[in-house]
Symmetry: C2
Subunit: 210 residues, 2 copies
DNA sequence: GGACACATGTAACGGGTTACATGATTTC
DNA sequence: GAAATCATGTAACCCGTTACATGTGTCC
């Protein structure tokens, strides 16, 4: 049987807080990790079993009527495994952005199709920030389930919120630009791109200098 | 055999520009798409064959010594398939960020381990921008292979460069923050998080109003 | 008592990665 | 002529998704 994956540790991390049923775990992963570690909920059912066979978690089975459910909790071996994982090398953040692939081959697309491809960024930005507003209010109004988690949540929130801001800013400015393309000359379009390139190089040189 | 995936279209998109060998395709995907559609190069060898069985590409086989290689080109059916894809719904951008998962369960980590988890964002930011500077210079100095692609490249560049800026900004500010944690009170840490939450809510309200 | 959300799974499939193998070309 | 790099793949495995199935509680 294969070694533990990041998905395994995402579940094990929750078990290190307290025991949970599979359904509760699925909820937590969905509420809290979906924007930076998205997994379908049915995955959890297999993964918890995997954790048990690896000896890092144990499950206590009980019944409601004819339907069983399992409460999982972490084992001492599980806590050690979590600590080892924390010491391991981290993968770089990974981005998959189909809309950008379409933009890349935009020579085969209509302006309307480009606008739609770009729009997918805005949709995600809205989702992230809608969820973010709820979390932020919970903390600020003292309604959070784990108020002492605020410092860690703040770090994650900071990243995601600004990720969303970047998605939105890009989508809006790109859609504005693409909207001009049907009536804009090739030189004009190219000049706009060159401005982007120049700004980046200036930023890079400023950073190099210190 | 399954339908075409985004990876299929990423290859088909290149074939719509001109015919390529598998190796050249692998290079192009690596150079141009790796930051928003990352795939291992060995995937290309299987996927090109898939494109042929689907009738959207054809391969012309030739030999150098005992070693074969294939030049793939797009078929009329392939161009139609590409056009259909462009009309289809776009997936949202997808982020996988193991470092954030570690931060999330940071209660089980040392400050040093948190710093390392955060660092993975900076590593990626550097990679994106190092590649970006090269591309930007090529365009600005007229050394680009497809100068008329500049407007489209500009859109993609704009997104990736600012994505990298966001990764770097977050990594630096978070590392600064975490560095203070060993000597900082719980209240102080929480207050910093609350500032993040408040700023976000203000931004959100400002946007709602106008 | 019908509809619907909540809750708990299983089966099958496949895209993607890892690891490996090996031929051709260039460099020193 | 050895080593390194460029080039072309194959085999095996598995994580993850899709699609499906079904029990339980609640609302009207």
């Amino acid at each position: 049987m294969a070694a533990l994956t990041t998905t395994s540790y995402a579940i094990l991390g929750w078990l290190s807080v307290r025991p949970w049923t599979t359904y509760e775990l699925a909820q937590q992963l969905r509420r809290n990790l979906r924007f930076f570690w998205p997994r379908v909920e049915s995955r959890i059912y297999q993964e918890t079993k995997h954790l048990v066979t690896e000896g890092v978690a144990k499950g206590e089975r009980s019944y409601v009527g004819r339907r069983g459910h399992t409460i999982y909790s972490i084992t001492p071996k599980g806590r050690r495994a979590l600590a080892v994982w924390m010491r391991q090398q981290n993968d770089r953040p990974l981005l998959e952005f189909e809309g950008l692939v379409k933009v890349f081959f935009g020579a085969s697309a209509t302006p309307e199709q480009l606008l739609a491809a770009i729009q997918s960024a805005k949709v995600l930005a809205d989702e992230i920030q809608a969820a973010g507003v709820i979390v932020a209010r919970e903390y600020l109004e003292g309604r959070s389930a784990w108020p002492d988690r605020a410092p860690l949540s703040g770090l994650i929130f900071d990243f995601l919120w600004n990720h969303a801001e970047n998605l939105r800013r890009w989508a809006e400015s790109s859609q504005q630009e693409v909207a001009t393309w049907p009536t804009s000359s090739a030189d004009k379009k190219t000049e706009r791109a060159f401005q982007v390139f120049r700004t980046a190089i200036e930023q890079d040189e400023k950073r190099s200098r210190g």
